[in-house]
């Protein structure tokens, strides 16, 4: 597998997570060697992240995001940069809420699905990074 890097710029409103799903389809089409479970786990984590960013910016004037996804032999990674104010989302070590909770699972799900989840505030932008390593062959 050669390294593959793709970018998507989207703004919400009017875009929503469907733009991210459609973009990921082009990434998967260009990287047919990625195992189905890896695609599924990474897509679930990235959609949770994008949903969180879109949802927390919904009350303001909207948000513009730049998403970069990279795929290579070592695994999958994504960087999502958004224009929302700082501090909208609290990241660290969220426990999975109880079974009957109706919300609060997003960050816990991301943590369960990726090896790295990082947040930085850079040049008045929020920068989110997730990465998932390819599991060693069985």
């Amino acid at each position: 597998m050669t390294e593959e890097r793709r970018d998507l710029v989207f703004s919400s409103p009017p875009d929503d997570v469907d733009a991210v799903h459609a973009f990921l389809e082009t990434v998967w089409a260009a990287n047919p060697g990625i195992a189905e479970f890896e695609r599924m786990a990474f897509e679930t984590a990235l959609i949770e992240l994008a949903s969180n960013v879109i949802q927390h910016a919904a009350g303001d004037t909207g948000v513009t995001c730049v998403l970069t996804v990279s795929a290579d032999e070592s695994g999958l990674s994504a960087s999502l940069t958004d224009t929302a104010d700082a501090g909208g989302i609290v990241l660290m070590n969220r426990e999975m809420p109880d079974e009957l909770a109706e919300s609060g699972r997003g960050i816990a799900l991301i943590q369960a699905l990726v090896d790295e989840l990082r947040y930085e505030r850079l040049d008045e932008r929020n920068v989110w990074t997730i990465s998932r390593a390819t599991p060693p062959p069985e």
Binding site: M40, Q55, M96, E102, R105, L109
Partner: protein, 110 residues
Amino acid sequence: MEFQTESIGDDVAVIRGEGRLNMVSGPTLREAAKRAIDGGRPRLVLDLAPIPFMDSSGLGAIISCLKSAREAGGDLRIVSPSSQVAMVLKLSNVDKILPAYDSAEAAYRD
């Protein structure tokens, strides 16, 4: 995304919709469940087979429907989740309270 409801017996409603279950479609699912419950069918079956992808907002909508059904003396049971939906249910531990059935007919056989 639209949900269709099909009736089985006196009080079971099978709810089915094709597409992703997320923050956009979750409220539509809640409305479909409310209509079934208000119409006297509090025993809900949610057919997950046509849902290739679900996020935590979608899962929250399912839990909300489950609670509404139980408050009305019924329940909610799920059928045929796709592999992604089954993964989210398992990671959230919701698979413990919502085991998957093979068919709508099997969901209330007990």
